[in-house]
């Protein structure tokens, strides 16, 4: 539809259709023509954003970094519009079994740490970079569920946790909220694990706009997004499904740690090229 704002999102779960169909109806009822395109992984979404096929992309933190680099390489710019309240100040933890007696990062040296998917910021790149930054060398065992989804699928973290409980690995890396979730659901029974190491805070997903998108369209979209209220019964179930209470303004300072991790592991090159060996979404 001509004049509509076109957003890309990654279909990491069937609920993504329900969420964005619902938001689409809401945007349209508020006077903004809005369509969305679903991608099977983030890499193509980012490439399409920078190529101008999309106006905005609902990006993972890794996808934000790549869109920034691709934009720079092609003379474009991207900017963060909004993020969920739950995208701010996350941390990752490296968890060991209490009975294994591993209490410090140093004691992990030479051991095996289970991680999420290769491209998971929270369950692989950030915690592994954190350990490396501490000078601790470990063997990573990746649980590659949903490669290309940048860790959106919690399956890799859950498999890593199961491997920890089965004694197959010495520790497991995961998002702090996943650690709480797995404790509550019993995958990590209460009292059986302990946090060995924790990363500093970082930010997660961000709605990203490219400078080729019409500015007034972007402004209206951003205004509506930030104006969504948890009191609104129409959007509340969608906010619940998308895992937020309110949209907040986008910011970029929370991606420094991940940028360093990307460079450390050569995940992307400076021009946004995919350089991680074996990474094939």
């Amino acid at each position: 539809m001509a004049g509509a704002l076109l957003m890309g999102a990654v279909a990491y779960d069937p609920k993504v259709v329900t969420i964005w169909d619902g938001f689409r109806a809401w945007f349209r009822s508020h006077g903004l023509a809005f369509d969305y395109l679903l991608y099977s992984h983030y890499e193509r979404q980012v490439e399409d954003l920078i190529a101008g096929h999309l106006h905005v992309a609902w990006n993972s933190p890794l996808a934000w970094l790549r869109s920034e680099r691709l934009a720079l390489a092609s003379g474009r710019t991207v900017r963060p519009l909004a993020m969920r309240n739950t995208d701010r100040d996350l941390t990752s933890v490296i968890v060991g079994r209490r009975d294994a007696g591993i209490r410090t990062a140093e004691e992990l040296g030479g051991r095996t740490v289970a991680t999420g998917a290769t491209d998971s910021p929270q369950a692989t790149l950030l915690p592994m970079a954190h350990l490396a930054g501490l000078g601790v060398t470990v063997t990573a065992r990746c649980f590659d569920v949903g490669v290309g989804l940048h860790g959106d699928h919690v399956g890799g973290e859950r498999d890593a946790a199961r491997a920890l409980m089965a004694g197959e690995v010495d520790a497991a890396a995961m998002l702090d909220a996943t650690y709480l979730l797995l404790g509550k659901e019993g995958t990590l029974p209460a009292g059986t694990t302990e946090v060995v190491e924790q990363t500093p805070p970082y930010d997660h997903c961000v709605m990203t706009a490219v400078d080729t998108a019409p500015a007034d369209l972007i402004d209206r979209f951003t205004g509506l997004l930030l104006g969504m209220s948890y009191q609104d019964p129409e959007v509340r179930p969608l906010l619940d499904m998308e895992g937020l209470i309110a949209w907040e303004k986008g910011r970029t300072e929370g991606y420094r740690l991940l940028a360093a991790a990307v460079d450390r592991f050569h995940f992307y090159g400076p021009g946004g090229e995919v350089t991680m060996p074996g990474y094939e979404p």
Partner: protein, 395 residues
């Protein structure tokens, strides 16, 4: 600014600490601070993660416990919530809105969610003041088919009398099947706000299920095959099942049909040639009386506020009569079986007695129908006319 303090002790957020946090945060205003103490080893990781998901904020610990700054959290969920009526027993509103959906009467209903279409959402169409009392009565009077009848009580009947009983039982099972389907089809259309009516109809459905069981079991008690099922009888019953208007279906089934059935069951109880037949007829009669009571009560209340109801009821009887004009009505085998049951033998005097008893039954059915029609506001003349148009199949 309130300075609230919470001590979680050793309780973790993976073991229920969120309950204490929610309780402590509930009375605070957004921006207020809650100092949280605790010695669960993962508290420093879990607490910020929990607060982030719940819309609160944690300030870095300063050595004296973590400080949670209350956000608006999920308060918005309940700001527009309203109650689905008062919840008092038997107190209902005239037009419950679709958005109440499956919410129990009196519950605090969050805005949003599905708005299921229950087309029977008008108090006048479905409600009867007696419904709560009738439901309580119905629930208290449930019985177990396995033990409520002494199935092994010894008796012996001549073969022809046994065959007549089997034919009558076959007819009863068929009729109860229709009497089960009719309320069952309306159950899902009635707005759940009218809970006692839904419950009452649900028990009615269960009643009919048990009736089918005991009549069927009596039919097969001596090992014989079931009797016949006539096309006319089935056609008559199907006009009941097809009626999609609740008031009209209730009128045709309960007021006219089941009302006549109560007389039939009383007849069987009185002239039953064996104790098992007597008992199953009595058990079913108790339930059917209740079904008739509800049908009459809610139509009586509806008639009081809807002057057009009478003519619609009349039209329904006439329509059904026209539809069945060319059918045989009652299965001849059933009529003859009733005579044989009431006669007890082939002696001409006995047959004559049996025949007179069945004639008296038909008069009793007619009188009963006229009485109930008059309760619904029909004149004596109209009642007699409408009663005469009722199906010859009884139900």
């Amino acid at each position: 600014m309130t300075a609230a303090v919470l001590d979680l002790g050793g309780l973790g957020l993976d073991s229920g600490a969120h309950l204490l946090l929610q309780r402590a945060l509930a009375p605070l205003r957004p921006g207020d601070r809650l100092t949280v103490h605790g010695h669960h080893p993962a508290l420093a990781v879990h607490l910020p993660a929990w607060c982030r998901a719940e819309g609160h904020r944690v300030e870095p610990p300063d050595g004296g416990g973590s400080v949670v700054v209350r956000g608006t959290g999920r308060d918005g969920r309940w700001l527009g919530a309203t109650r689905a009526g008062t919840g008092s027993r038997g107190v209902v509103v005239d037009h419950p809105p679709a958005r109440w959906g499956l919410a129990p009467r009196g519950a605090l209903v969050e805005e949003g969610g599905p708005e299921p279409h229950f087309d029977l959402d008008d108090r006048r169409l479905v409600w009867a003041e007696v419904a709560p009392r009738l439901y309580a009565h119905a629930a208290a009077r449930q019985w177990d088919p396995a033990t409520a009848v002494a199935w092994d009580e010894p008796f012996h009947l001549p073969d022809d009398v046994e065959a007549a009983v089997v034919q009558v039982m076959t007819y009863l099972v068929e009729n109860e099947q229709a009497a089960l389907i009719v309320p069952a089809r309306f159950l899902g259309r009635i707005h759940p706000h009218f809970r006692e009516v839904v419950q009452l109809l649900a028990v009615q459905v269960a009643d009919e299920a048990r009736h089918m069981e005991i009549f069927n079991r009596r039919a097969l008690l001596r090992g014989g095959p079931l009797g016949s099922s006539s096309a006319g009888g089935r056609a008559s019953l199907f006009t009941l099942v097809e009626e999609s208007d609740f008031a009209l279906a209730s009128f045709l089934l309960s007021v006219l049909g089941e009302g006549s059935f109560v007389d039939l069951l009383a007849f069987l109880e009185r002239y039953a040639p064996d104790p098992v037949t007597r008992r199953v007829a009595w058990l079913a009669m108790q339930d059917e009386r209740r079904h008739v009571l509800f049908g009459v009560a809610h139509l009586e209340e509806q008639a009081a506020v809807d002057p057009g109801l009478g003519s619609r009821l009349r039209a329904a009887v006439e329509r059904r009569h026209d539809a069945l004009r060319d059918t045989a009505g009652l299965n001849n085998d059933v009529f003859d079986a009733l005579v044989m049951v009431a006669a007890g033998s082939w002696e001409p005097e006995a047959i004559e007695t049996g025949y007179r008893r069945v004639q008296r039954l038909e008069r009793a059915m007619d009188e009963g129908r006229r009485r109930r029609l008059e309760r619904l506001g029909f004149s004596a003349g109209e009642a007699a006319e409408l009663s005469a148009l009722h199906t010859r199949n009884f139900m």
